[in-house]
Amino acid sequence: MAPSNPFPWARSLSTPARDLRRRPAEGEIWAAEVKVSGTNTQETPNGAPSAAIAAGESVVLADGEPLRLESGATLCPITVAYTTQGRLNADKSNAILICHALTGDQFVCGTHPVSGRPGWWETMVGPGRPLDTERYFLICPNILGGCMGSTGPSEINPATGKPWGLDFPVITIGDMVNVQNLLVDHLGIDTLFAVIGGSMGGMQVLDWAVRFPRRVFSAMPIATALKTSAQNIAHHEVGRQAVMADPDWCGGRYQEEGKRPHRGLAVARMGAHITYLSESALTRKFGRSLQGRERVTYGFEADFQVESYLRHQGITFVDRFDANSYLYITRAMDYFDLVQEHGGVMADIFAGTTVRFGVISFTSDWMFPTAENREIVNALNAVGANVSFVEIDTDQGHDSFLMEIDDYHNVVRGFLDGAAELRGLARP
């Protein structure tokens, strides 16, 4: 018996995707609704390089004083779109900065304004959840280079009045963190109670702890590494080449040409998505099951459920993500190497740190395997830093950090509870 089609809405890749990511007209606020408790939708401040703020809040930073990027280039002004949850306490000691991953954004919870789906960390964030909005004040900014309202390649270059495209300077994880640091300044918070994030978000967490150790009380880098491995650079390169091979990419000027390289970006997403899963999870979920048919068709339609699933992942992704952002952000990950930044000496990375670290890895994660997470632990042990580490047993691969896994959530909750007690935060 062929199972019923679980993805009836999956389209063929040759079908044009809905163009939800068209450029908004001047002054237009995206007509998307988002329900985020404790957050006011705020219009783009005057002078912002773009009006593409979907919801949440937005602030213009580095206005007047350009931010020097690690590449040597400067950027000014910089818009940061962000959401907040919960309430900042009187002494401003309960703020947690959430760093999102490659294709994440500021919408950690609530309905996503573009996809209409729940936020990417819906199960982690909320009253009584590990990131308890009754207890903590959560801040999640869209990263520099992102495409959900923060300054990035799809925004308008103030010097030309046209979208940045490939004129946007190449950015690094450190640049993203420097911008987040300006946001924390703007919010009037001196020390973050915690910085937390998975995958590329975890890289930002590590960079925060290295760059601004006195601003960070505790840090939870999840499913991440001190440096991006050759294998991950390789996967990124395949993704970028897929984008750039799409004729609609137009050398990066697709916005001006009124086109979108959705096929290339979808293929990039399909390839990347495989790396977020695991062989055993794919086998468990799909095996060799056929997609809405009794037998193979001896053609190139999506015979197998796993093909249909990947096509769906690719197609829905292009609805909410910008191709040039994908190039820039994967490049930022490639360049991330805290070991090299410290002369190749692991023990120098966290020398003298007072930050409390909680590192988490997942057994089936082959993108950021446990061994790479343990390297973080070893580097911290080398300087006697305060570090805890847990490896969660799951077959859900790298994407486990987004999943509701009891052991995982209990560890996050436990680590934050313990740190909160030391920080003197009242229980809700």
């Binding site: 409390r356 042990n381 570090v387 805890s388 847990v390 969660i392 047993d393 560890v411 313990g418």
Partner: protein, 217 residues
Amino acid sequence: MSAQPQGPASGASGSRPGHGIRVDQQLIADLVPAGARVLDVGCGDGALLYHLAHAKGADARGIEISRERVAACLGQGLSVIQGDAETELSTYPTGSFDCVVLSQTIQAVRDPRGTLETLLRIGKQAVVSITNAGYWRNRLHFALRGQVPVRESPGESWFNTPNIHPCTIRDFVALADDMGIPIERCYAVGASGTSRQVDPASASANLFAVQAVFLLG
């Protein structure tokens, strides 16, 4: 450690889920200087770590193989790394702790000699507690029943016990001597839970002690 060993058969190690600590743990805590940097290897649910951190003002860290126990430790604000101590310890720099604690675990490691060496590499001192296989009831059990004494734990027998290297006080002292490790102090814990400092070479301690605690280095 490859498994969390159970307490001795005599019941001298009363369990204290979350409250108080065992007799041998109290002895260990007494041997740790206030404010010391301590690593508890195989720290279980963190009772000793918690005591060291709060009652002794120690900078206390732990290693524990069980995820559930690590999670319990984290929830108490303790710093614990999940892992197999026998491989994990090699990543710690030399002399990084004032004191390293190995509490009732040495009988469960694959390489007790190598483990002892490592403990004294990363710690200036080590406190090791053992369950004394030379305790008279164990000897009687062996003599009368002709079976290897295995600690009373449901379903545990000689072929599946994690305690693969049982040793007596005399065995441990001989190993320390052989390795040139000075035994600074030795305490014997009796079946009633009382403890006293003894000469590590004492034959009566090896007969009547259920557990022993050694301060090494």
